[in-house]
């Protein structure tokens, strides 16, 4: 029996954004990463070009995280005090496509480290690895506005992906990224209208659309995953139908969010009916990522090496 053709015809697609710059482009990266470019519903390449494969950015912190369980710290035990070595291990041993440096230590409540410290950390990571870099502030507006411009200048020409900017605080970082040739992450808290609004605000400062990545804040499995899922699905549909202010690639913060949940981090003694954390934690992170992938995600921030390996394999098998 003949089956009706169900391939949708889309008029548009997700923007392509390239992160990182090699020597001939004024940077020092050994490779660049291009994300986005999809012209179909995720993984439905019978109706259009699926674009670039989703990539994984592994988180590296400028100070040792104080809320990580032993399951999560163990793979990094030898490098957790040295962000550069940590980044190197993520790339060389765990196959990270990118490194996401999270500058938690500059937060006034988490060490209040100076801009000079942050610059030093960024430079050491740029020297240690050849992959492109995401640099994520501490989400304290004043401190980020003080530190991120200096970090941006120090990494000038490397075409890093810097974030995050929100509708209440975007001008400083947008201007800096524009001047230093970086790309930017726009953030909206699970709200598709604000998500579009912040993209418009940033683009009104003459920031090129093909240097913006969207972040809708991520709900972990069991903790609002469906909100992120549906908003990202709607963003993809908007991109496919030609909404230029919703056509940016999407980044998710899976590792941090998944490992905050009880299901991932609880001690075995406290939840014997859930099984051992050694399996339970990495699985929770993995399934948060693989479920969100179906909504349309281009960059996934992750933590545990086992989850990274599983999600990479999953992407390869579906792509």
């Amino acid at each position: 029996m003949e089956i009706p053709n169900v391939a949708d015809k889309w008029t548009s697609g997700v923007n392509e954004v390239t992160i990182g710059a090699t020597k001939d482009k004024g940077g020092s990266r050994q490779k660049t990463i291009t994300v986005g470019g999809s012209k179909c519903i995720p993984f439905m390449d019978f109706e259009g070009n699926p674009g670039h494969k989703p990539v994984i950015a592994m988180d590296v912190y400028d100070i040792p995280p104080d809320d990580w369980t032993e399951t999560l710290t163990r793979p990094f035990a030898d490098v957790i005090n040295d962000p550069a070595q940590w980044a190197k291990k993520c790339v060389e041993q765990y196959g990270a496509d990118l490194i996401c440096l999270k500058l938690d230590g500059i937060h006034p409540d988490k060490g209040n480290k100076s801009a000079e410290d942050a610059v030093k950390t960024v430079k050491s990571i740029l020297a240690a690895v050849g992959v492109p870099l995401i640099i994520w502030g501490c989400e304290h507006d004043e401190k980020d506005n003080e530190v991120m411009p200096k970090v941006s200048q120090a990494a000038r020409g490397e075409n890093c992906l810097l974030g995050i900017v929100s509708q209440d605080n975007y001008k400083t970082l947008t201007a800096t990224c524009l001047a230093d040739g970086h790309s930017i992450i726009t953030m909206a808290p699970v709200d598709i209208n604000i998500g579009k609004q912040i993209n418009i605000l940033v683009s009104e400062m003459d920031f090129p659309l093909n240097r913006i990545v969207m972040f809708q804040s991520t709900g972990a499995l069991g903790y609002g995953l469906e909100y992120s899922y549906s908003i990202q699905e709607r963003e993809r549909l908007a991109a496919l139908t030609g909404d230029k202010m919703m056509s940016m690639p999407v980044i998710c913060d899976v590792g941090h969010e998944a490992w905050r949940s009880k299901e991932a981090k609880s001690n075995d003694n406290d939840v014997p009916q859930w099984g051992p954390r050694e399996e339970r934690g990495p699985m929770w992170e993995t399934i948060t990522a693989t479920s969100l992938l179906q909504s349309g995600v281009d960059i996934i921030r992750m933590n545990h090496p086992r989850s990274v390996a599983a999600v990479k394999k999953c992407i390869d098998r579906l792509y």
Partner: protein, 446 residues
């Protein structure tokens, strides 16, 4: 394709008699098209109209029931491709395999383990739905024995999987009253399997390598008289399965293609539990009616069941936590008390931050009908009286010695009135939950 109002109008008596309660036949037709009226409201409708409209109004994806009683699994009858358009109605059934070639002890052990796959998370019990008995032994006797054991020794619904019609018949003799799903019909045996399914009034699957052949098989089975069909979506690669799931759902919903208008089952079985659960959850969010896995460990099943809970949540209706006083950590009489709303996303965000601060605290979830802080405040669902009532209902004054209440920074404006109504000192917390850890560490003093 669904009929338009005008298509329907042509089939109506066109007398504008108003007996249906609408001013004109056209108005009635328009409401029928939007599924806001029932054809039975028209007393003069012709048999011809009933036949045409009845066929057109049948759901594009057939509802299939596996099992009986309160635990039965209902799949199909979905209306949309994306959950934000409406919602997904019938949660995917989760099945775990049980091979009939295991020795008695191993079989009993595994069945016991499968029976115990229930977990409690965020105050809700979650559980799998089905055992898939696989006729790996190829023996009719063993298959029938396994069916008997599961039928008597498990509360779960049953999938019987065998390509042998004789073996299926033997197993059905021991569990047909449980209304198992018959899995194993293919191009070679589908008429005989269908005859069995019809005789025992059981739902059945059809398996074929391509969608074209799958549609043919479904038609053949329908001709034998079986209505409840489940399409077994298989493939060499996960990508192929995922794309087939989408193609079938689209064909049914967008093209009203009846031959594929059935719910789907996928076998995600893989020796690598991480890959297995990854694929099972992928198929689950993308339209599988039943997913079958080998993993029978809670750390694999719990995330799968949680994906289901998340994706099948009604997106129009905010999810709520029970409005009450929650103790985070070892909260004592000198621990801080905060309130937030009972919108689950708001509540769990606050809870997560408080937990992250490692400062034991009480969180009062105030009943705002499941709306967020600002929405509730603007709608007057969150005011001094509502908070005072929630404080009284939860008997907060008996839980702590101090009289200080931390309120969300977003509703700082209500602090004066609240202080008056409650007689407690009001402390204005941060505007975002992310500021809670530092607030509790630096500002809070008992």
């Amino acid at each position: 394709m669904a009929l338009t109002g005008l298509d329907i109008y042509k089939l109506l008596p066109k007398t504008n008699c108003k007996k249906c309660g609408r001013p004109t036949c056209l108005a009635f037709a328009m409401q029928l098209a939007q599924k806001k009226a029932n054809l039975s409201d028209c007393p003069d409708v012709s048999e011809e109209a009933k036949r045409v409209l009845g066929a057109a109004s049948a759901p594009p994806i057939k509802l299939v029931t596996v099992g009986t009683g309160a635990r039965k699994v209902e799949i199909g009858e979905e209306n949309v491709l994306f959950r934000h358009e409406e919602k997904f109605y019938h949660p995917t059934g989760v099945a775990v395999t049980l091979h009939d070639d295991l020795d008695d002890a191993a079989f009993d052990n595994r069945l016991k383990k499968i029976n115990n796959l229930k977990m409690s998370r965020v105050g809700t019990e979650i559980e799998i739905d089905l055992v898939a008995i696989i006729n790996k032994s190829a023996s009719a006797e063993k298959f029938a024995d396994a069916a008997k054991k599961v039928s008597g020794g498990s509360h779960l619904n049953i999938i019987l999987s065998s390509t042998s019609v004789d073996n299926m018949k033997a197993a059905l003799a021991n569990c047909a009253e449980k209304r198992p799903l018959i899995h194993g019909a293919n191009a070679d045996n589908c008429e005989s399997m269908a005859a069995l399914a019809k005789e025992k009034n059981c739902p059945m699957t059809v398996t074929a390598p391509t969608l074209e052949e799958l549609a043919d098989l479904a038609e053949r089975v329908k001709k034998v008289g079986v209505e409840e069909i489940v399409l077994d979506v298989s493939g060499d690669k996960p990508k192929e399965i995922l794309q087939k799931l989408t193609r079938i759902r689209r064909a049914a919903l967008k093209k009203n293609f009846r031959a594929l208008g059935f719910p789907m089952i996928t076998f995600a079985c893989d020796d690598d539990a991480f890959q297995e659960i990854s694929m099972a959850s992928t198929y689950l969010v993308k339209y599988a009616g039943i997913v079958v896995v080998n993993t029978c460990e809670p750390w694999g099943i719990m995330p799968l069941l949680t994906v289901r809970a998340n994706i099948f949540t009604d997106p129009q209706k905010p999810i709520q936590v029970e409005p009450k006083l929650y103790a985070v950590g070892d909260a004592k009489e000198d621990s801080p008390v905060l309130f937030t709303t009972n919108f689950s996303l708001t509540y769990y965000t606050v809870e997560g931050e408080v937990e992250g601060s490692r400062i034991p605290a009480f969180i009062l979830s105030v009943d705002t009908g499941g709306t967020s802080v600002l929405t509730a405040y603007s709608g007057d669902k969150l005011n001094d009286k509502v908070v005072a009532k929630a404080m009284a209902d939860a008997q907060v004054e008996t839980k702590v010695k101090h009289r200080k209440l931390i309120i969300p920074g977003l509703v700082a404006v209500m602090s004066g009135k609240l202080q008056e109504t409650l007689g407690w000192e009001i402390m204005v917390g941060p505007r975002e939950a992310s500021g809670l850890a530092s607030y509790l560490k630096t500002v809070w003093k008992p």
